[in-house]
């Protein structure tokens, strides 16, 4: 048997329902940063550049190649650093930080909401490390492979969040 509320009583009852919802916090909520289409576009472009670069140096690079490759490292470092700053500039709702501080794995200050910024920081570190190694001692194929694998773990951590944010 379907249950209905009589139309004539709608306002009184709707008023009570509204009150109930305020009690149950029936308000739309924002716990996280907002989706940023420009940031995602930048991430995709930088990711493509990074993967092309890894492919080119996959067999390893000598110190002799550093002069040619230096601008490539600088381009990647600059792009990912800019993306990190862009990501970090997004406001984080205080409500999210409070909730996050109660969530296991999020950190006592809601640090999990910073996960993309931290991953982008690691990516900058990877390319800075590669640049230094290329200059000082060259990179073996294995070293390039390790850097690439680390990069892929980090970029996935960024992209999964951005894709999830777009879902809302």
């Amino acid at each position: 048997m379907k249950r209905h509320l009589a139309g004539g009583m709608a306002l009184g009852l709707a008023g009570r329902v509204v009150a109930l919802f305020f009690l149950l916090a029936g308000c739309s909520a924002q716990f996280t940063t907002s989706y940023d289409a420009a940031l995602v576009s930048g991430l995709n472009a930088a990711n493509e550049e990074a993967l092309v670069f890894f492919s080119e140096v996959s067999v390893g690079v000598s110190t002799g190649r550093f002069a040619d490759l230096a601008p490539r490292y600088d381009s990647l470092i600059g792009k990912f650093e800019a993306l990190r700053l862009q990501s970090k500039a997004r406001p984080v709702p205080a409500l999210g930080l409070q909730l996050g501080s109660k969530l296991p794995g999020c950190g006592s200050a809601g640090e999990c909401l910073d996960s993309s910024n931290i991953a982008l920081d690691e990516i900058v570190g990877i390319f800075e490390g590669m640049k230094g190694d290329n200059r000082n001692l060259g990179l073996t194929a294995a070293a390039v492979q390790i850097n690439k694998a680390g990069y892929q773990i980090a970029i996935e951590q960024v992209l999964v969040i951005e894709n999830a944010l777009r879902g809302k």
């Binding site: 009852l13 329902v17 308000c27 739309s28 999020c106 999990c112 931290i118 294995a142 390790i146 999830a164």
Partner: protein, 119 residues
């Protein structure tokens, strides 16, 4: 009139959809990351044993691996908060949709969905 049974079914459907979507994303993310981190650990160890990387590189890569593992956990928690937000707002949308439909039919103006106060 508000049909409570229909509204309840719509809420559950919306909630299931939002939660399932979040669970799907998280599951494939966990699989990919745990595999990636395990492979990375093996690559680093192998490269050290075969002399393909220096001791300094070995320490740096391990430090990076630790940082990436910690951030994997953070990212998972972050995903959970996003799913929670989406599920919450999906329910609120359905509820207010039901309320406003009833008010509209009764000739009253619709109400905007209120936002949670900024803490």
């Amino acid at each position: 009139m508000i049909d409570i049974d229909e509204l309840a079914a719509a809420i559950v459907g919306s909630l299931k959809g939002a939660v399932q979507s979040g669970v799907n994303i998280a599951t494939s993310f966990v699989k990919s990351q745990t595999n990636g981190l395990a492979v990375q650990a093996a690559l680093i160890t192998e490269a050290r044993i075969t002399g393909q990387i220096t001791e300094e590189q070995f320490k740096r890569f391990n430090k990076q691996l630790r940082a990436l593992t910690e951030n994997f956990v953070r990212t998972l928690a972050h995903l959970f908060l996003i799913t929670l937000q989406q599920a919450w707002n999906a329910v609120v949308d359905v509820l207010w949709g039901g309320i406003n439909q009833a008010l509209d039919l009764a000739g009253f103006p619709k109400l905007p969905i209120p936002s949670a106060p900024q803490a």
